[in-house]
């Protein structure tokens, strides 16, 4: 038996105190297999030991929430017996080490989380953060991540319908790849992971187990250093073909009533799936590893328990239903093996070659996992109003902003994703939120991912509130009623006090905003230790929001539709330039207070806009990065119709990033009624111009042609990625 030395304990990412706790929970020294199991189950990635205490405070309930956090994904009721199931999850560390496979398996993992609950995945989104475009590795990472996402999602036949991309030097050594999956199921046919009862067969389905991904969860719970690329063997390899078969086979099995519980083998593979299922079912599980389908020879128990080979599931069946299930998996040419049984011992017992290699209380891996209230230092939010040169030419600045890496068109990315497969994508990438129709109905699900990391760095609380508010706004802007969110909390090392403050304040901000907007958190994921050589990323609590459109024919898009429409600005503008895109791109400064969030105004203005869309309004865009003029330019480019503006022409008004604002365009005859309605609803609204022509013109600020704006907007990405092709004309 391997001696458990202090070095070995440290190599497993466990502290001396944690090791002492393991010994006291077991009443003896752990075996090597047990040490490995504790190491992954107690990792930050699996145990949420630094965040659990705070995540408890998030609002997770609403009448339409069918399943909140704690399962593989969250579930909401969308009427008519339909349920939407969704979650967002990070695959940051693997994607930096090996971008194609890291991103691909991130997509595969989140899809499994959703279809393991009985849903057919119907849409994918992804929130990506890369380093400075000038950094020598950025291009390679963008290229690899985008092809990895496409390679997996396209083969699965699930449309990738949108997302977001930022570049910032703080991600140079630690990119973020957050993938979100939305699935559709019948509300009365949701599958959970509680392995209830004793003596039920535990079955292994999907791919064979290999040596890939061993200790992935532990790797994802540590900082990076210069030699991080040596960790490549800990990155899993994806096989979307097998996942597609697994999806179809699981849905076929789920149409029977043979399943008691099912969970995908994600991080920490066989270990976490068996331990979590036993924990939730208040039972025990006994596994016989000799029966695990293996891809490589002579695998040890340690390797099998810690492998993160992809495209695998663990299920507990009703006794006697094994043959029926096996027939389905054989049809789909997948491995199927009964590898154990549930017990009433509340212990996880692992046998290999006739020996018991692990025998531990299930609760030691879950409830008894360490829980830290790590110390934090409250830092004062960035404040003050930045000074700017008010004489800079407005339209030149606009063109520069439209072509900036964070603001330019993402067409180069989304054209590599099949966004129209399944023939239900009614709003394609490029709008405020993607919309997919609920198959066979007129209902639609609107989906968005949002966070503005520079705001979160300036003020973690306000920035987190803003992320939720922007998700709410993007859903409202297409006409969807915002229903729930999933959060993907990406932060640095929680053992640093200033980072821990970002985490605490960030979770607090999300909670505050979600409560005020009736927008509960139903699933999520934390990714900490996003640091390289001691330098942390900007705090990035990404929010994935989902909303419901009762009728996809009553939906708004950002494109101007007609010449001569009145352009109306909704919401109050004070000219918040702190932390703005204008400040960074034109003045080269990242300073000042981030725009304040007024949740009551967000709600009021959002409800107002949604009602208008329900009554027939078709052109809406939310105002976010870049402010009013950028929003108008985007609407003009999308519709190939210019705008003549008659409003204030100062930089603060045109480029300020005040929140809770929208731009609408309506036919002249409806404008007056709209303004009156706004007044009676207490919503600030102002007529600021008319659509028409082929340029953006503003009295006192000059004009710029749409052709010139498009060149800047569409040109940056292909040029940066070295493509020689011109973007299509339309």
């Amino acid at each position: 038996m391997t001696a458990i030395t202090p070095e070995l304990v440290r190599e497993h990412g466990l502290t001396d105190e944690e090791y002492a706790r393991i010994k006291s929970l077991l009443g003896r020294q752990p075996t090597l297999v047990e040490l490995g199991i504790f190491s992954v189950m107690w990792s930050e990635h699996c145990s949420y030991k630094s965040t659990r205490a705070y995540l408890r405070n998030l609002p997770t309930k609403a009448p339409w929430v069918l399943q909140g956090p704690g399962e593989n994904a969250g579930v909401i009721d969308i009427g008519d017996g339909d349920a939407a199931i969704f979650k967002m999850e990070s695959h940051n560390h693997p994607s930096f080490i090996e971008p194609y496979q890291g991103a691909a398996t991130g997509v595969g993992g989140i899809m499994r989380d959703v279809f393991t609950m009985g849903a057919r995945p119907i849409a994918m989104m992804n929130a990506l953060r890369f380093g400075d475009p000038a950094h020598p590795k950025t291009r390679h990472l963008v290229s690899g991540v985008v092809s990895g996402i496409g390679g997996y999602g396209n083969c699965m036949g699930v449309p990738t319908v949108g997302g977001e991309v930022n570049f910032h030097r703080s991600y140079n050594g630690n990119i973020l790849v957050n993938a979100m999956c939305v699935g559709l199921a019948r509300a009365d046919n949701i599958f959970l992971s509680a392995a209830k009862g004793a003596g039920n067969p535990v079955v292994y389905i999907g791919s064979k187990t290999g040596r890939d991904g061993i200790h992935g969860a532990t790797m994802a719970s540590a900082e990076f250093s210069e030699d991080s690329e040596e960790k490549r063997p800990t990155v899993q390899v994806g096989d979307p073909f097998t996942e597609k078969l697994l999806l179809e086979a699981c849905l076929e099995l789920m149409a029977t009533d043979a399943i008691i519980a099912i969970q995908d083998m994600g991080a920490a593979g066989l270990t976490s799936s068996s331990a979590e299922m036993a924990d939730k079912g208040d039972s025990g599980i006994e596994l016989d590893l000799d029966r695990v389908p293996q891809r490589e020879e002579n695998m040890t128990a340690y390797e099998m328990m810690l492998s993160e080979s992809q495209e695998r599931m663990l299920a507990v069946l009703k006794p006697g239903r094994e043959a029926e299930a096996e027939k389905i998996f054989k049809k789909w040419e997948l491995d199927f093996a009964v590898i154990g049984k549930t017990t009433d011992t509340h212990r996880l017992v692992v046998k290999h070659k006739g020996e018991t290699v692990a025998d531990m209380p299930v609760k030691a891996l879950s409830d008894a996992a360490p829980l830290y209230k790590r110390p934090f230092t409250k830092t004062a939010p960035a404040s003050g109003e930045p000074k700017i040169d008010s004489g800079k030419p407005v339209m030149e600045s606009l063109a520069k902003i439209m072509g900036a890496p964070d603001m330019c068109s993402r067409r180069w990315i989304w054209e590599q994703y099949d966004y129209s497969v399944m023939a239900d994508t009614v709003q394609c990438p490029g709008g405020d939120a993607a919309v997919v129709r609920v198959h066979g109905s007129n209902k639609g699900l609107a989906i968005t991912t949002d966070v503005t990391p520079r705001y979160c760095a300036a003020d973690p609380f306000e920035g987190a509130e803003q992320a939720v508010a922007e998700a709410y706004r993007n859903l409202s802007a297409v006409g969807a009623r915002p229903l729930a969110v999933t959060d993907n909390l990406n932060f640095g090392n929680p053992q640093k006090q200033e980072i821990m403050w970002q985490i605490v304040a960030g979770i607090d901000g999300i909670g505050e905003a979600c409560r005020a907007l009736d927008f509960p958190v139903i699933s999520g994921n934390c990714s900490l230790y996003n640091e390289t050589n001691g330098e942390g990323i900007l705090p990035t609590p990404a929010i994935g929001g989902v909303g419901l459109l009762k009728d996809v024919h009553r939906m708004a898009t950002i494109a101007f539709k007609r010449e001569g429409d009145c352009i109306i600005l909704i919401g109050e503008t004070r000219g918040a330039l702190g932390q703005s895109i204008y400040l960074r791109e034109i003045e080269g400064k990242e300073e000042g207070a981030c725009p304040p969030v007024d949740l009551a105004a967000e709600r009021r203005n959002g409800e107002f806009v949604r009602e208008l869309i329900g009554a027939g309004l078709t052109t809406v865009h939310d105002i976010s990065d870049g402010g009013l003029l950028v929003a108008i330019a985007e609407m003009a480019m999308a519709g190939n119709i210019g705008a003549v503006l008659d409003t204030a022409s100062d930089i603060k008004f045109l480029f300020g990033e005040d929140q809770a604002r929208y731009v609408l365009a309506v036919p002249e005859k409806e404008a007056r009624t709209l303004l009156a309605l706004a007044q009676s609803a207490g919503v600030p609204a102002a007529l600021i111009g008319r659509t028409g022509g082929d340029k953006i013109a503003l009295k006192g600020a000059g004009e710029i042609s749409l052709a010139e704006l498009k060149k800047a907007h569409e040109g940056w990405f292909p040029a940066y990625m070295g493509s020689t092709e011109l973007p299509p004309v339309n």
């Binding site: 040419e333 099949d418 009614v426």
Partner: protein, 222 residues
């Protein structure tokens, strides 16, 4: 018109094809599994888009060797209609039901976007309801749509009026020879094309330019 959709492992546009067929014919198509050895009696067989067998070998190469393809070939030889969309087109070239091959896109990237097409041949059961030279927009979504054949074959295809669809000048998304997007076999009962007509039959989803293709089939086969 009775129809069947062949389902290979990792076909992923099988449902879209079935929805379109049911929409136009009022009847659900038979969904036929790749391992089946019999084809039901139908007028039209659709080979749908997707990544059959993961496309880990040449796209469509594994599918061309499946049990059911023997039956599909027999159906075509008897004059039955076969429509191969995207991966289905790749299966048709690999099965030698159509000449040529589909190579990696010229820029080596997957491409998904609406493209402008010209209907260059209306003398077929697939295209008779289009106007000759009509400009239509279908989406493409593929990584291997770069149609290639030797000059002799291309000349013959053109000479015999077997190029049914071409990418509009300047809108070729994959570098295919002579802007070819879709071709017919000699007997004109087999059509393979990279763009997806089944995704443009609903105004809500970006147009209805695919409708005439299904209406042509109904008119020709009923």
């Amino acid at each position: 018109m009775k129809s069947a959709v062949i389902v290979f492992p990792a076909s992923n546009c099988d449902r879209d094809a079935a929805v379109a067929l049911e929409h136009f014919t009022g009847e659900k198509p038979a969904m036929v599994w790749h391992a089946d050895t019999e084809l039901p009696s139908v007028d039209l067989v659709v080979l749908p888009g997707g990544f059959s067998y993961g496309d880990y070998l040449r796209c469509g190469a594994m599918a061309s060797q499946s049990h059911i393809m023997r039956e599909v070939k027999a159906h075509a030889e008897k004059g039955g209609a076969v429509l191969g969309i995207c991966n289905g087109f790749q299966v048709l070239t690999e099965s030698h039901l159509l000449p040529g091959a589909l190579m990696r896109n010229a820029n080596l990237k997957f491409v998904c976007r609406p493209v402008a097409l010209d209907v260059t041949e209306t003398q077929s059961g697939f295209t008779r309801k289009y106007e000759s030279g009509q400009r239509v927009t279908f989406p493409v979504a593929h990584g291997d749509g770069n149609y290639f054949a030797d000059d002799e074959t291309l000349d013959r295809l053109e000479g015999e009026g077997r190029v049914a669809f071409r990418y509009a000048q300047g809108d070729n998304p994959n570098g295919s020879s002579r802007n070819i997007a879709g071709i017919l076999n000699e007997k004109r009962n087999v059509l393979g094309l990279m763009p997806h007509p089944e995704r443009v039959i609903d105004p809500l989803l970006g147009g209805t330019d695919g409708t005439a293709l299904f209406q042509s089939l109904i008119e020709a086969l009923e």
